[in-house]
Amino acid sequence: MSHPKKGDKVTFKIEGRTYDGRYGDSLLEQLRKHGYEVPSLCYHEAVSPYGSCRLCLVEVKKGKKQKVTTSCNYPVQEGIEVFVNTEKVRRYRKVVLQLHLSKTPKSKAVRDLAAEYGVMETPYEVQEQDKDNDCVLCGLCSRVCDEIVHVSAISFTGRGQNKRMQSPYDETAEACIGCGACVYVCPTDCIGLQESDGIRHIEKWHRDLPLQTCEKCGKQFFPTFMLMEFSKRTGISKDQLNICPACRNSVV
């Protein structure tokens, strides 16, 4: 038996049509690339798939077996046949959306997505929302913080129904550099970043960071702490980073 390697060329089918891909590619990305509409909350192509929101369900036939699976973390393989809109997929996705509605009923993103698939209300008990309100526990913020920003200031804590996305002890995330990447990827916009009086506040991580004033234009731009971290990692001197990107570009 030969073992395929990541990146090997494979051929597979979606809804009966044949496509080429690479072994190990995310099936969800392939589906979207070829124009199939599949919903998701926890997927972002920049970071590793996680499989928590259970929305990107499809049916995959591999050999004789056909089963429902999430597509984001399904590696494309030789000979698989994919079906995106079967009766089972629709039925389970409806229940998954109802569960999302009972967990985060106030989230506009969740409500809009559910409505798109015809789910307007949930038969399940609506959970009392704590201050994590609109968080769907997709983990994108911590994956970005870990895999892209490399500071891992936040993480999942607890387990089961006590699972939360938090800074340690839900106190100031001391490792957070205030880059805001988490805010950018959050599918439900629930992290909260504000700037006032020369301070960047990231509410959810209890992080307040003073902003650097540009030595050229006098405008405030990035948190100083973040610039110091850049300097440490890249070796660029701190003085060079005291100028905002706009002014730096104009110098070049």
């Binding site: 928590s52 929101c53 998954v96 009972s102 526990l137 999942f156």
Partner: protein, 627 residues
């Protein structure tokens, strides 16, 4: 003697051990596994002190052994030679045992097992509980000192490893295990040899392959693996070394045992056993001069049921939280640190030396079906069950695959406690199901149990009687799983919370007829759309009770009635005329809501009763009813 450098030296060493052993030497084996909860450790101290006081401490051995199985009658003591079986032994009995049995060779009637007709059963093997079993894995538990590798070697231990290293090729070992039809004892029932073969064939750039023993026995109500690790750790180690040779040699096989932190005795005994195996050269470099290099590390779990799931277990060994990942690429190809990884359960590993030692024909003669050319074709060998709950003889039982539930519960288990009616038996733990009386004649094997909506699981077998509420049982498992869910995927995390909330309201008398439909729809989605096996199997206890005991759900919903007398909101306690007026319940009632004078009938004030059941617990006259 220190390191053993070859198979022939091992056999020489064994011969020496056997020659130096006096078969008439007396030994007192005390179960210090589960019986610890009966105070068996105090018993051991008493034996040691008593022997010392009599100047017998160098003539008689005291062995602290693993579980003997018949937990109901603990603390258990077996006296060798002769396997004299004493039960319910207390420290106060020790002097008499030493004076009468050890010194004079007299049996003490009071401590022996009596049948209902008064017949005395002197030997362990005569007792019906043991006689109706087939103890292949557990047989040495009442004579073997788990702290002594010499004890194991003297009984033939590491002989299978010797045979493998002296005369077999790795592929032959894989084929043997495949032909034996051994299937995963952790519950899944996947053919062990097939797994070994895939792992052996999976490419590994640096030759590293991981050999893991899953001892994270998380199923509540199950302690088979605990008993094996505490009673016979070397059998598990020997199985793993054979596995390392078959799967990873030549190459760099590396071993791990992931064991629950809740099993401190198992961790300790396994640690001692590993150290002894290293000293003898049975672990480490160039094992028995074969060129095989392999060692085993212990990793302790931290109290998370989900870590019994293979990918979560591997994440935990890697130093992460125990979150499972999707297994679209199997762990035999990319498991621990992305290397080919073979994971088997404790009981599966313990079977390996037996199979290699006694051969495929012997093993396949035990059990069901036909596995020639198809390892899925049957269930071979024995299975250990933890027989617990409302059954007379609770304990660990080992039976051939294919034994019926009735034989296990009635012939071995002695039937239901207090003459009550059998209601259900739960197998497979939180992933399994509850089967009703009309399934009692079902032969227990992997495929039969799955067909009727339960599963073999790791071997928990919980017997339930008429006083058990099946809705409450489902509720128990749902809450257990909601508590143990890692929370990664929404279907498991929120789905279980919602299933709990619906079943809770049914138990509280607030259920609606349409709840049953909602339970059906949600449980199917949780099964089909969850990420790992925990979520996928989580609805099984619910679905099996809804299938076989639907009337109880309907009663809770429509008549607000709990026939098991368990659901607090639907029951009342009252005192009947058997009451002698002893005042005990009145004294113990935390609400002080029982009134009555001495020698007069007591009455419970229903308005203040919190239905804690203490009155029923403390009443010696069976005078408290639950309605």
């Amino acid at each position: 003697m220190a390191r053993i450098d070859s198979v022939s030296e091992l056999e020489k060493y064994r011969a020496q051990l056997v020659a130096h052993r006096d078969p008439e030497r007396k030994a007192i084996s005390v179960c210090t596994s589960g019986c610890i909860a009966y105070g068996a450790d105090k018993l051991v101290d008493a034996f040691r002190q008593g022997l010392k006081a009599r100047g017998l401490d160098d003539k008689v051995d005291v062995k602290t052994t693993g579980c003997h199985g018949f937990c109901e009658r603990g603390p258990l003591v077996v006296i060798h030679p002769g396997n004299l079986f004493y039960q319910r032994v207390q420290p106060g009995d020790v002097d008499e045992i030493l004076d009468e049995t050890i010194e004079k060779g007299e049996n003490i009637d009071r401590l022996m097992f009596h049948l209902d007709d008064g017949t005395v059963m002197a030997c362990e093997d005569d007792v019906p509980f043991y006689k109706n079993q087939k103890r292949l894995l557990l047989k040495d538990n009442s004579s073997l000192d788990p702290y002594s590798i010499d004890d194991y070697i003297a009984l033939g231990g590491y002989g299978a490893l010797g045979k493998v290293l002296a005369g077999m090729k790795p592929d032959e070992v894989v084929t043997t295990v495949k032909d034996s039809g051994l299937r995963g004892r952790g519950g899944g029932g996947f053919p062990t040899g097939v797994k070994w073969e895939s792992c052996r064939n999976a490419p590994s750039d640096d030759g590293v392959r991981y050999i893991i023993c899953n001892a994270d026995e998380g199923d509540p109500g199950a302690f088979m693996d605990r008993a094996l690790l505490e009673g016979n750790p070397h059998a598990v180690i020997e199985g793993m070394i054979i596995g390392a040779f078959a799967i990873g040699h030549p190459g760099k096989p590396q071993g791990y045992v992931y064991v629950r932190n809740e099993y401190p005795i198992a961790v300790e005994r396994l640690g001692v056993a590993l150290e002894q195996a290293r000293e003898k050269g049975l672990l480490g470099d160039d094992i028995l001069g074969s060129g095989l290099s392999f060692d085993i590390r212990i990793n302790k779990g931290g109290g998370a049921f989900v870590c019994g799931e293979s990918t979560a277990l591997m994440a935990s060994i890697e130093g992460d939280v125990g979150e499972p990942r999707a297994k679209h690429i199997h762990t035999v190809e990319a498991g621990l640190w992305d290397k080919p990884t073979n994971l088997n359960n404790v009981e599966s590993w313990a079977n390996v030396p037996l199979i290699l030692d006694r051969g495929v024909e012997w093993f396949t003669a035990i059990g069901t079906g036909d596995v020639r050319g198809n390892p899925w074709g049957g269930s071979k060998g024995t299975k250990i069950f933890a027989l617990v709950g409302k059954v007379n003889n609770t304990g660990l039982v080992e039976v051939p695959m294919g034994t019926t539930l009735r034989e296990i519960i009635y012939d071995i288990g002695g039937g239901i406690k207090d003459g009550k009616e059998f209601k259900a038996v739960q197998t497979g733990g939180p992933s399994g199901g509850c089967l009703p009386a009309d399934k009692l004649d079902l032969p227990v094997d992997f495929d039969e149990l799955t067909k009727v909506g339960s599963m073999m699981g790791s071997g928990g077998m919980i017997v339930m009687d008429e006083d058990t509420c099946m809705v409450d049982v489902a509720r128990y498992f749902l809450h257990f799983l909601a508590d143990e869910s890692c929370g990664k995927c929404i279907t498991c995390r929120e789905g279980l919370v919602q299933l709990c909330s619906i079943v809770d309201r049914i138990c509280e008398g607030n259920g609606k007829p349409e709840d049953l439909e909602l339970l059906d729809e949600l449980s199917e989605t949780v099964s089909e759309a969850s990420l790992c096996a925990l979520g996928q199997t989580a609805p099984n206890p619910l679905r099996s009770t809804m299938k076989y005991f639907r009337e109880e759900y309907e009663e809770h919903i429509n008549e607000k009635k709990c026939r098991g007398g368990v659901c607090k909101s639907l029951i009342t306690y009252s005192i009947n005329d058997k009451c002698t007026g002893c005042l005990i319940c009145k004294k113990k009632c935390p609400q002080q809501c029982i009134s009555g004078e001495k020698d007069k009938l007591h009455v419970i004030d229903q308005s203040n009763c919190i239905k804690c059941g203490v009155c029923m617990d403390v009443c010696k006259y069976d005078a408290v009813d639950v309605n």
